[in-house]
């Protein structure tokens, strides 16, 4: 052990002499006995790294994965094979289609069942252009659909809809097809958002194919089947629901947990969602420090790619760089950019 780069100093020798003067040989001998006795009580360390204690058959080790695959496959097949019973008119109350009129609704009553062009959003001061002919298929209430077909393209629409809401739709499936005019509507004239069951979207798509009308578009927000009494919420509420972000503190905690457990995909996902990469916990440990401590090079590399700092120090004064250097793991060093 040579002193590369540093010359000995009198203070060094003075300190060694001071320690020698203060040393208690009896205590040292007792300490030696205690340590060696503790070592003797420990099980013998094998010369080679021991095999994992639990080494079950491969099919058992992958049991959970196999079960998850089977469950997912079953769900997929069931969703493809399952055909709902023909819907009865009285099922309307169970899954009503709620029409959220973002733009003012026309005074003309909205037909209950219709594949006819829905009333276009009002464009202030502009007379509605004649709608292009759209083939409509009224499947369950042809009379109403026919009525809608004749009622919808009528002259200029009023700016403001009457306060009274339209009567509740009697049927569950009420896809609203918005026929595009020759020119797309102005950005301010937003179409309707239809909240309905998931099957409605599929039915509408089938109708589109059948009708061959490629310009029709269905704007559908699929709601849970459990929310059968889902009354048309305000559009603002929908937007708030859709855009409610997780709190940064929660994201940071989840990020640290994922980094500790080595769940690299979750780490990546959280970082893409904007989780703060360098947020420390109560001990000052960041996700990168935790991933380095737990020997997860892939998670550490993901954090480094998103700018996690190697030099952030925890409450104990250690940084990820320090811990990685102490570990001396080449793979870890390379993952966080310390290695060659």
């Amino acid at each position: 052990m040579s002193d590369h780069g540093a010359a000995p100093d009198p203070i060094d020798e003075a300190y060694v002499q001071a320690e020698a003067r203060l040393s208690d040989e009896a205590a040292r001998a007792a300490r030696r006995e205690r340590v060696l006795a503790a070592l003797a009580r420990e099980p013998a360390t094998p010369a080679v790294a021991p095999a994992p204690a639990w080494r079950g058959p491969a099919w058992r080790r992958g049991g959970w994965l196999a079960a998850a695959c089977v469950a997912g496959l079953s769900l997929f097949v069931a969703s493809q094979v399952y055909e709902p019973l023909p819907r009865q008119p009285q099922t309307a109350a169970r899954a009503p289609a709620a029409v959220v009129a973002v733009a003012p609704t026309p005074s003309v009553p909205t037909p209950a069942i219709s594949n006819a062009p829905a009333p276009r959003p009002a464009i202030r001061g502009v007379a509605a252009a004649p709608e292009p002919p759209v083939r409509t298929e009224a499947r369950t209430a042809p009379a109403d659909a026919a009525k809608a077909e004749t009622a919808a393209p009528q002259g200029p629409l009023p700016d403001m809809a009457p306060a009274a809401p339209p009567p509740p739709p009697p049927l569950a499936i009420a896809p609203v097809r918005r026929a595009f005019p020759a020119e797309p509507p102005a950005a301010s004239s937003v179409g309707e958002i239809v909240v309905t069951g998931g099957r409605a979207e599929k039915a509408t798509a089938a109708n589109d194919v059948a009708s061959g009308d490629a310009r029709d578009e269905t704007v559908t927000v699929t709601a849970s089947r459990r929310s059968s009494a889902f009354a048309a919420p305000p559009a603002a509420a929908l937007g708030r629901f859709a855009a409610s972000p997780a709190r940064p503190a929660d994201q940071a905690a989840r990020l640290r947990a994922a980094a500790t457990a080595g769940r690299t995909a979750e780490v990546e996902s959280l970082l893409h969602q904007g989780a703060p990469a360098d947020a420390p916990d109560a001990n000052g440990d960041t996700a990168l420090i935790k991933s380095v401590q737990a020997d997860h090079p892939a998670a550490a590399a993901a954090l480094r790619r998103h700018g996690a700092s190697l030099d952030h120090r925890n409450n104990a004064g250690e940084s990820a760089r320090d811990i990685a250097a102490a570990k001396g793991d080449a793979a870890l060093d390379q993952a966080i950019g310390l290695g060659p």
Binding site: G5, D12, V16, E19, R31, T45
Partner: protein, 204 residues
């Protein structure tokens, strides 16, 4: 003019000195005496490093941490790679981690050391430090001054002065650059010289 100072070799003279890595390998293979020989080589500096790094407030934990360190050495003997680091560097890395873990468990906030340039301005007259530790009381004061050093400076100083680690080994054990280790050692010495100078003036 001061006489040239030689590094103190605290290790017992062994006529047939076996390499540390060989001893560790023999221990892994089941040689009961190999580990005792290795322990005897590094017991003293390792314990003093732990004891001084803990400081007076946590001195009671030194024995336990020392034992934990050697148990960790024994349990991880197969993982030691002499090509990556020397045995003392590895040993002190483990010891340092034990101390930091203890601080973390005790929720001791370790503050970063402030390396004050004023610490480098030390009067250079008077008896040498070695002459000053002739008495037990002054030895205690020097050790107390070591324990009062900032933590990283303290560790670097004890590893260099007492354990005989090189700057590269200290840098490896503490996870910093060699220049940082050198700087810590320099500041530690300067602070100790200043402390001894203060003691001298107080005793005159």
């Amino acid at each position: 003019m001061r006489p040239a100072v030689q590094r103190v070799d605290w290790r017992p003279m062994e006529p047939d000195r076996v390499d540390d890595a060989d001893l560790l390998r023999a221990h892994s293979a089941g040689d009961a005496h190999a580990f005792a020989r290795l322990y005897d080589r590094y017991d003293r500096p390792c314990f003093q490093f732990i004891r001084r790094t803990l400081g007076g407030a946590h001195a009671d934990a030194a024995e336990d941490l020392h034992q934990e360190t050697w148990l960790a050495v024994s349990n991880n003997a197969a993982a030691f790679d002499a090509r990556k680091a020397s045995f003392p560097a590895w040993l002190f890395t483990i010891a340092r981690h034990k101390v930091w873990d203890h601080f973390r468990r005790q929720k001791v906030a370790v503050l970063a050391s402030v390396e004050d340039d004023a610490a480098m301005m030390v009067p250079d007259a008077g008896p040498t430090p070695l002459q000053q530790v002739e008495s037990r009381e002054l030895a205690q004061r020097l050790v107390a001054a070591v324990e009062a050093l900032p933590l990283e400076q303290r560790g670097a100083f004890v590893m260099f002065a007492h354990a005989g680690l090189s700057l590269e080994e200290i840098a490896r054990a503490t996870g910093v650059a060699v220049e940082t280790a050198k700087s810590r050692l320099r500041y530690a010495r300067a602070t100790l010289r200043r402390a001894l100078a203060g003691e001298r003036s107080a005793h005159v």
